[in-house]
């Protein structure tokens, strides 16, 4: 880890002859920090990797290693054969798909409205949309449970309620991501489009939406990841065992004597999420470079400050 130079918070990039002396004297600080981070990463990831490992256990214990076997992956005892696990995996994927399909358009359109509307009418909507970020998920789950069972009876518990709950929970994240990107798109671009003869709809379609593409993509990725892992709201909005998600199954089965197929089911979701997010991130990098917003850097402090502030935005 050669990124370490002098110890303490000194920028490692600015070199110089005088620094070399300080470098050798103070190296230990930087190394200690690096070692600390390595320890942290091991502590953070090892338990998960071990849990994945146990899905290949030859015995039926989830904590005592009894040899290597694929029995929980293929064959009669496999996770895909067990209706409970299989249904939960499918249900989780269904919910995630629906959550992304609803939250992204809903959130992006609301963000554009909040970002381009000149007037104060948008404040309440903005505050309400981000409220789920400042209350514990349990409170929101409880509130929506009551809403659905005591008032909006036409929404039944189960998949419909679960989707609605997840969408409401994920919406603020989509809005934060999109509004961040939107803030870095000067409305001058849309004005230029109008100036050149595009109607407002044309400006929206041909200029704003393409420039928002990275945020839309990022929102979809985040929505998927959050939905797959969601527990509290999905639990409270569920009805029968047919509406169980994988986190719910894990919660119910962990303290019991479930077989390592439980680990396998968790691993399926984990790997699926990682693969999807990695692929999504790769696409995101491409799209982001394509839509890189470039404005003339005025040779004034204004331009430099603007560039500096812009870097903090998604």
């Amino acid at each position: 880890m050669s990124a370490v130079q002098a110890s303490g918070p000194v920028a490692g990039s600015s070199g110089g002859g005088v620094r070399l002396r300080a470098r050798r004297r103070r190296n230990w600080g930087g190394w200690a920090l690096g070692a600390f981070v390595v320890v942290y990463l091991v502590w953070s990831l090892a338990p998960v990797l071990i849990a994945f490992l146990f899905s290949f256990n030859a015995g039926s214990s989830r904590s005592v290693w009894q040899g290597f076997s694929l029995q929980w992956w293929t064959g009669p005892a496999s996770v895909f054969n067990d209706p409970e696990y299989r249904d939960a995996i499918l249900h989780s994927l269904l919910l995630a798909g629906l959550a992304v399909a609803v939250t992204v358009p809903l959130g992006v359109s609301l963000s554009i409205f909040l970002g381009r509307w000149r007037g104060i009418a948008s404040r309440p909507a903005s505050m309400l949309a981000t409220l789920p970020l400042v209350v514990p998920e349990l409170v929101l789950a409880l509130a929506m449970f009551f809403l659905v069972t005591k008032l909006l009876h036409f929404i039944s518990l189960g998949t419909p309620a679960q989707v609605i709950g997840q969408v409401t929970y994920i919406l603020p994240l989509v809005i934060v991501i999109t509004r961040g990107r939107l803030a870095s798109i000067p409305s001058g671009f849309e004005e230029a489009a109008l100036d050149l003869g595009a109607s407002p709809l044309g400006a929206f379609r041909l200029v704003l939406v393409p420039l928002l593409a990275p945020a839309i993509l990022a929102s979809a990725i985040v929505a998927f990841a959050v939905s797959i892992d969601d527990f509290v709201i999905t639990q409270y909005m569920s009805s029968t065992s047919a509406t169980q998600s994988v986190p719910m199954v894990i919660y119910n089965a962990t303290r019991g004597s479930a077989s390592p197929a439980l680990n396998a089911s968790a691993m399926v979701m984990g790997v699926a999420t990682i693969v999807l997010c990695a692929a999504g991130y790769a696409v995101y990098r491409v799209v982001n470079r394509r839509e890189e917003i470039v404005l003339p850097q005025a040779s004034t402090t204004e331009g430099a400050l603007g560039a500096a502030l812009g870097e903090g935005v998604w």
Partner: protein
């Protein structure tokens, strides 16, 4: 610039959605909390009209949680202690990591970032499942520490151990603490450090006088991101402890919610919890607003 009507149509679905599923839902929560129970069905009845609100449920929850006196006070006290310790742990562990990735490891940043984003992509439940596996009798932690003689041979890690709950909370939430802190530190202009060194400060002084104060907002943001879910947590304690001796406020609310007749108490407890959190968050929101004003000028 866009015709007002078209823009309003764009915002309409979202506004209706949050009006319904956030505002009305929270109002429904309040309506249950101030409502009564149907005598026949024994299910909670929401009271929508503020004029008919009854505060009995709120009062009984308050008296149960009354500071130092109420029977459930210990639950609240315990929750605050757990969260405080877990939060301290998050700061002690999370700050150096965030600092390292944001300030020092600019070159290998991609790899380290990927590695510490990975926990987000693996569900919270799975990460708890992993620890249950390790701490179960015969599990790797249990057998290693048992053979080292650190604990007795029949030591049950997963039943009623407070420190296990705290460690689980810490393990679960420290990545969520690191992320906003990293974002704040990544924006940190390294030239401040150069200026400080230029003015004669040694690295320790620079850290305490320059880096730490300027990253304060990031630390607060991380604390908020992490504290809020912990106050609503019931599943962590359930998974790694499972007894009422480690019950948290969230456990209380969840238990009430499972029984139909107690749902009014669940709602009332939730209302009190939100009120408490609002009080707790107020200074953060104020300081965050002030910080934004300072930067925006």
């Amino acid at each position: 610039m866009y015709p007002r009507r078209q823009l309003a149509t764009l915002g309409l679905p979202g506004t209706i959605w949050v009006g319904l599923f956030v505002a009305t839902a929270l109002y429904a929560l309040v309506a249950i909390a101030v409502g009564g129970i149907d005598p026949i069905l024994l299910s909670p009845v929401p009271t929508w009209n503020p004029l008919h609100w009854s505060f009995g449920n709120l009062q009984s929850v308050w008296s149960a949680l009354r500071p130092f006196n109420g029977p459930d006070w210990v639950v609240f006290e315990r929750t605050v202690i757990y969260i405080a310790i877990a939060m301290a742990g998050c700061i002690v562990i999370g700050y150096p990591v965030a600092y390292f990735v944001a300030v020092r490891a600019r070159r290998t940043k991609g790899l380290v970032l990927a590695l510490f984003v990975a926990p987000f992509l693996v569900s919270y439940m799975l990460r708890m499942l992993a620890w249950v596996g390790l701490l179960s009798p015969g599990g790797w932690v249990d057998s290693v520490l048992g053979s080292l003689g650190v604990v007795g041979s029949q030591y049950n890690w997963l039943s009623g151990r407070s420190f296990v709950v705290v460690l689980a909370l810490l393990y679960g939430w420290v990545p969520y603490f690191i992320l906003p802190l990293y974002a704040a530190l990544a924006r940190f202009d390294l030239r401040f450090l150069e200026a400080s060194k230029d003015l004669g400060a040694n690295p320790v002084q620079t850290f305490f006088k320059v880096t730490l104060p300027l990253s304060r907002q990031g630390i607060y943001a991380g604390m908020v991101v992490v504290a809020l879910p912990m106050f609503g947590d019931f599943f962590t304690a359930q998974l790694v402890s499972g007894t009422s001796s480690t019950a948290m406020v969230g456990t209380l609310i969840n238990t009430y919610a499972q029984s139909q007749t107690d749902q009014t108490l669940a709602a009332a407890s939730a209302v009190w919890l939100v009120a408490f959190l609002a009080l707790l968050l107020a200074p953060y929101l104020r300081s965050s607003a002030r910080a934004t004003a300072e930067v925006a000028g």
